[in-house]
Amino acid sequence: MRPLVRIDQLWTLATTWYSTRLEETSRRPQPTEMREIFAALGLEGDFWDPQSDRFG
């Protein structure tokens, strides 16, 4: 079963990723930052690791 994300968690992801998107200094989270963001929401494990080599 693939991970399920609650709406409140999804809002945190949306604001973290995009709240500065229209600004000059905006940049995408890097892999380490992504893992930290996901972990803070309780989204952990290989599925949420952007550098996991577990999925072929």
Partner: protein, 146 residues
């Protein structure tokens, strides 16, 4: 300002103002440059995962959270209609605009229409769930599918 940043801001600014993707001519005008340089910048921005361009090399498919094509994830804010690439990006449109909006979509399982009001503090309470099908390490293998 670095040229690629100018192009990025021109693209995103157009999306924010109109809800639709800009043409290369519109981006060039907005960035004070020419189409050839803009298309070169698109390639570099794609490598940075800031833009996704169609096979023609000039039509913007995605400037996340904005979709360049109609999708089922519609956001209405300030009298403008936007398309998100997915449910996450639909909320991302509201977050990027820093303005309240309403997300219209449908349940991926049942097809039931979904409507969610979102203000600056976040969405109205809901028991809906976002089902993430693709592992994070594979998102950009085919970001349109993801």
């Amino acid at each position: 300002m670095e040229f690629d940043v100018q192009v990025k801001l021109a693209v995103y600014g157009h999306f924010a103002e109109t809800g639709r993707r800009p043409s290369p001519d519109e981006v060039a005008e907005r960035a004070g440059s020419e189409v050839g340089r803009v298309l070169d910048a698109y390639r570099r921005l794609r490598a940075q995962r800031v833009l996704v361009v169609e096979a023609d090399g000039s039509s913007i498919r995605m400037a996340p959270p904005f979709s360049g094509v109609p999708t089922q994830h519609v956001v209405e804010s300030g009298g403008t209609r936007y398309f998100g690439n997915c449910a996450w990006d639909a909320l991302g449109v509201v977050a990027a605009l820093h303005a309240p909006g309403t997300v219209h979509s449908c349940c991926g399982q049942s097809g039931e229409p979904l409507h969610l009001d979102v203000d600056l503090q976040g969405p109205a309470p809901s028991d809906w769930l976002f089902h993430c099908l693709v592992p994070a390490a594979k998102w950009w293998d085919d970001i349109v599918f993801t």
